[in-house]
């Protein structure tokens, strides 16, 4: 059992290292210039050299992301609970939510910039719009799918609607909420970076665009590496949060015998 687990980690790691090695050797042996494709070691060196600057820009991107994601969570939970509690609200909003998902949010960025300026606000709004849908729908659906007998049990105790939500519907729908949040957390960083491309004076997207315009490809790749790391960080944070909040872990949550 332990051996397979170890092997499961070793295999993808060695494939990745193999690919990086081929890349490194290919660039070195064929003499491809830096402005076309930098070698992995060059990227790593650029990453280390630029780390203070990268971290400064990352802190801005991360603030936009975390603020946007937090707002998305609040918005998603409120809309999901409203839709679940009042069926007419669901009927009115659900189709609109689905339709808005056919609009690629990023094309709205220029409009947001017109109204909200060049600061953090339009980026946060983009993150909110990108992230709230993947949380809202699974969370609302999971609340609606809670065992009606559990709700009846609470009703038979004379529980008000509020208690049905806090004791049964919300805790029961939390695993779905977290799987939605995992998807959103992955989107969130890219949402912030792409909206920084369009207009900004700071942030990873801004940095990326600047080094790209200077043909400093090693730094472009270094910033890509940073984006990947931040996305992993967001994903890990959500995993940690779900482990802290979901008691007992999701896989043990069977329905009653």
């Amino acid at each position: 059992m332990k051996e397979t687990k170890w092997l499961n980690r070793l295999l993808p790691t060695s494939v990745l290292l193999g690919l990086l090695l081929i890349w490194e050797l290919g660039v070195r042996l064929s003499g491809i210039p830096l402005y076309i494709l930098p070698a992995p070691t060059k990227i790593l060196r650029a990453f280390c050299a630029e780390l203070p600057l990268l971290l400064r820009h990352s802190s801005i991107t991360l603030s936009e992301t975390i603020l946007g994601l937090t707002l998305a969570i609040i918005l998603a939970m409120s809309i999901a609970i409203l839709m679940d509690a009042y069926p007419p609200v669901r009927k009115a909003i659900y189709p609109l939510l689905v339709v808005t998902q056919t609009v690629p949010v990023i094309v709205l960025a220029p409009i947001f910039i017109i109204y909200l300026g060049f600061g953090m606000a339009p980026k946060i709004l983009i993150v909110v719009l990108m992230c709230f849908f993947p949380i809202t729908i699974p969370f609302a659906d999971a609340m609606g799918a809670q065992d009606i007998r559990r709700i009846h049990l609470l009703s038979s105790m004379g529980a008000p609607k509020r208690k049905v939500y806090t004791l049964v519907k919300i805790p029961g729908a939390l695993p779905a909420f977290f799987s939605g949040l995992k998807v959103s957390a992955t989107y969130s960083i890219s949402g912030a970076v792409v909206s920084e491309w369009l207009s900004s004076s700071a942030g990873l997207g801004y940095y990326m665009l600047r080094v790209k315009n200077g043909y400093m490809l090693d730094k472009v790749f270094a910033s890509v590496l940073m984006v990947v790391l931040l996305s992993l960080l967001m994903n890990g944070a959500v995993k940690l949060l779900s482990r802290l909040i979901l008691k007992p872990p999701a896989h043990t949550r069977r329905s009653s015998s």
Binding site: L153, S156, M157, G158, P171, G172, L174, K247, S255
Partner: protein
């Protein structure tokens, strides 16, 4: 507390299930309602508990009419319905989480855990419990509600024979300690004879009481139950006729 249901009417998809149905349960009495599957016995219980809207009639507790759900009743459903995200202690104290007074209820729960065979399991989660333990936890949750009348809806139906007999023995002991009015819905004739002061057999459509049997004895045990062949036969015949008239 005395429970009475008078002139109860309810239907399902236009078909009457209960029509002008009467039921009377005296204070401290243990009444079992036996009937074939689908005859409306669970419907009757859910209707008393206020979970189903009745089309006519009244539910009275000590002469006062009850409409909708009421804290006078404590319902134990067929499945334990323990909430998987709560520990055993949190589950059995669900009433306190709904209405407040959680601390004192937790003290009472902890005092009672041993009686319910759950000692040391207070901080475990439901998935760590056996079927019998889950059912006992559900029963403790029901008993900890300050209700005067317990409504038990086939509480042991999903258990294996041995566990079921254990829990029946245990419920028989608990009857004295609880000292509450109980309505038990079951399809098990032996369970009804073993536990109750009075057995009602429901049958036909709309359902009506086909047989009413009072059981008076002081020494209930398995040997006594085994010897009740006449009573069992009478209940069985009424049950079968009731099913044939569906």
């Amino acid at each position: 507390m005395k429970l009475s249901a008078e002139g109860i009417c309810i239907g399902y998809h236009g078909e009457p299930i209960l029509r002008d149905f009467h039921l009377q349960v005296n204070e401290g009495e243990f009444v079992s309602v036996v009937g074939p599957s689908g005859c409306g016995k669970s419907t009757l219980l859910n209707l008393i508990a206020g979970l189903l809207p009745r089309e006519g009639g009244q539910v009275l507790v000590d002469g006062t009419e009850i409409s909708g759900t009421s804290t006078r009743f404590s319902l134990m459903p067929q499945d334990d319905l323990l909430l998987p995200w709560m520990t055993v202690l949190e589950n059995v104290c669900l009433y306190g989480k709904v209405h407040g007074g959680l601390k004192s209820l937790q003290w009472r729960a902890l005092e009672n855990l041993a009686t319910f065979g759950l000692n040391g399991y207070e901080n475990r989660y439901p998935h760590e419990l056996s079927g019998g333990m889950r059912q006992r936890a559900a029963f403790l949750r029901t008993a900890l509600c300050p209700a005067d009348i317990l409504l038990l809806d086939e509480p042991f139906a999903s258990l294996d024979v041995i566990t079921r007999e254990d829990l029946q023995d245990w419920l028989l002991q608990m009857r004295q300690e609880l000292g509450r009015t109980v309505v038990l819905v079951t399809h098990d004739i032996d369970e009804a004879i073993y536990l109750s002061d009075r057995v009602l057999v429901l049958g036909g459509r709309p359902a009506e009481i086909r047989l009413e049997q009072t059981i008076k004895t002081h020494g209930r045990n398995r040997a006594w139950l085994f010897a009740q062949s006449d009573l069992r036969q009478a209940l069985y015949t009424a049950l079968k006729e009731g099913r044939d008239d569906f």
